[in-house]
């Protein structure tokens, strides 16, 4: 069970009040892109054991979208942040660096 804090309304609740919507920060390649780019955009996902960035929505709450960084192995939630961004905040990345040294270069 994940304990999730919504950055839009400030509620902290367990995950059944929310809904996961897959990997975050995916580059949306448009119609003029190559086949490889389009395949990457549509189908290629990281699926790591460890740190993962995801899109979530406060489905049974304020209804707003947000981003979440969590560990797929331990279910630890590192933090949530605005949906209106292309990358995780540096502050959050630093926290994850401290907790999971070396996570940026998975073996």
């Amino acid at each position: 069970m994940l304990i999730v804090s919504c950055p839009n309304c400030g509620i902290t609740a367990e995950e059944t009040e929310f809904h996961a919507h897959g990997e975050a920060h995916i580059t949306r390649h448009a119609a003029d892109s190559s086949d490889d780019q389009m395949e990457t955009y549509l189908f290629m996902r990281k699926n790591p054991k460890g740190v993962h960035f995801e899109r979530w929505r406060h489905q049974n709450g304020c209804g707003k979208w947000f981003h979440m960084a969590r560990c797929t192995m331990t279910l630890e939630v590192f933090g949530t942040y605005s949906a209106q961004t292309y990358a995780p905040p540096e502050e959050l990345l630093a926290q994850i660096d401290a907790k999971r040294p070396g996570w940026r270069t998975p073996s």
Binding site: N8, C9, G10, A13, Q59, N60, G61, C62, G63
Partner: protein, 189 residues
């Protein structure tokens, strides 16, 4: 115009550990826009008869009231018969403002859960910390009741008002009654 009736025609259940009752037709207007904008605030206060609530709060006064729904949404409550007139007035006042106001009275059902065990009944159905120190009168919470979205607040200690979609009114009434069935006290609060 046809006679308006609420979803369950004021159904009640009094045999359990808390009283469950449908509140009948309640006027409700959804207002979306920039909640920090002065014209929107003024129009909302005029319609609801209360101040603009803070984040996750609900203010009520008589049949009027206003709840914070999300960073860009308020729920204005009023007598059912006043909703259309209030909506027209709101739209008039917000004609030059980027905002959206809709009468959602007929899309909703409202229940009351009343009694010393009301907190227990609600806690069985919603993933919310309902300890007396954590959830207090005046707070407004959007969440789920069993399997459907709902929102609730406490106008006073021992009383919850629950808002849900009209289409799931029977479901919500039934799960509230099950959670309040005789002998089902948990004794946790």
């Amino acid at each position: 115009m046809s006679e308006a009736v609420s979803a369950l025609k004021n159904a009640v259940y009094i045999a359990g550990i808390a009283e469950i009752s449908e509140m009948g037709a309640v006027g409700m207007i959804t207002l979306r826009g920039d909640l920090a904008a002065k014209p929107l605030q003024k129009a909302a206060v005029a319609a609801a008869g209360v101040n603009v609530p803070d984040q996750r709060q609900c203010l009520t006064e008589g049949t009027g009231g206003m709840a914070w729904m999300s960073p860009d949404e308020l729920l204005i409550m009023c007598a059912y018969d006043d909703a259309n007139a209030k909506l027209a007035d709101l739209r008039d006042k917000l004609a030059g403002t980027h905002a959206l106001a809709v009468n959602v009275s007929d899309a909703r059902a409202v229940f009351e859960v009343r009694g010393p065990k009301a907190r227990e009944v609600m806690a069985k159905l919603a993933p919310v910390d309902l300890a007396p120190a954590s959830f207090t009168p005046g707070m407004f919470r959007r969440t789920r009741i069993a399997q459907v979205p709902a929102a609730f607040w406490m106008p006073q200690e021992g009383v919850f008002r629950v808002v849900c979609f009209r289409s799931v009114a029977q479901y919500v009434f039934d799960v509230l009654c099950v959670a309040a069935q005789p002998g089902s006290e948990v004794g946790v609060f």
